[in-house]
């Protein structure tokens, strides 16, 4: 198993798919390396938040995902 990445909103467009896998374990540096440069730049933006298994990270650089974990990349919401 690996780490599942979930892309929401316009990040899904940029990634070309709503989900993909990355090698475990995965930390913040590893995540940025696993993404294409344009996507990594977006994900680095202050406005993009990260959730690990449904829990929002207050500091995304502290990401530490293991096998089977789900990492969601969340751009600013549009609201309902």
């Amino acid at each position: 198993m690996a780490v599942k990445l979930v892309f929401l909103g316009k990040l899904a467009d940029l990634a070309g798919a709503p989900e993909r896998e990355a090698a475990a374990p995965l930390d913040w540096g590893g995540l940025l390396k696993a993404l294409e440069p344009a996507l990594a730049a977006q994900v680095s933006s202050e406005k993009v938040r990260i959730a690990l298994n449904g829990g929002l990270l207050s500091d995304k650089s502290a990401l530490a995902a293991r096998e089977g974990d789900e990492v969601a990349l969340l751009p600013p919401v549009s609201g309902g």
């Binding site: 449904g54 549009s78 609201g79």
Partner: protein, 148 residues
């Protein structure tokens, strides 16, 4: 205090939800309901709302809890569509019933302000065949700030 929060993937008829919700609260003084629809102006052809399973519904549940804690209600119903929608289709429904009218009206106002700028939805719309992503309007953030 009954709480009913739903994410729907299919079109819904507001009256078919509000009728049973109201009937479930005998003794109520009033029920206030807001229904938002996909606007058909500005050449919008379609709207697509995506959500993130692990955040969206829990987020709506905790908004419902906060609304129930803040206003004196008998019941609260929050329903949101996700997926692809056409102009004229209902997208959101908030209904609050209470013994007195002002808490019911204020609860709907509060829940809608939160849903419009805070909820975990990503929305894109199609105009002239092109999709584009939408961010909340500045007014939506201003509306929400009223409750701080």
């Amino acid at each position: 205090m009954a709480k009913d929060v739903r994410l729907l993937t299919e079109p819904f008829v507001p009256g078919a939800l509000v009728g049973p919700f109201t009937d479930a609260h005998p003794g109520l003084g009033g029920v206030c309901t807001f229904v938002g629809e996909v606007r058909g102006d500005d050449a919008v052809e379609a709207l697509e709302l995506s959500h993130y399973e692990r955040l969206t519904l829990p987020g709506m549940e905790s908004l419902a809890d906060e609304t129930l804690a803040r206003f004196e209600l008998m019941g609260l119903l929050i329903v949101h569509r996700v997926g692809a929608m056409l102009p004229g289709e209902p997208i959101v429904l908030v209904s609050a019933c209470a013994r007195h009218r002002r808490p019911a009206i204020q609860a709907v106002d509060f829940a809608m302000d939160n849903l419009k700028s805070n909820a975990w939805f990503w929305k894109r719309e199609k105009r002239g065949g092109e999709w584009s992503w939408i961010e909340p309007r500045p007014e939506d953030h201003a509306d929400l700030a009223r409750w701080k």
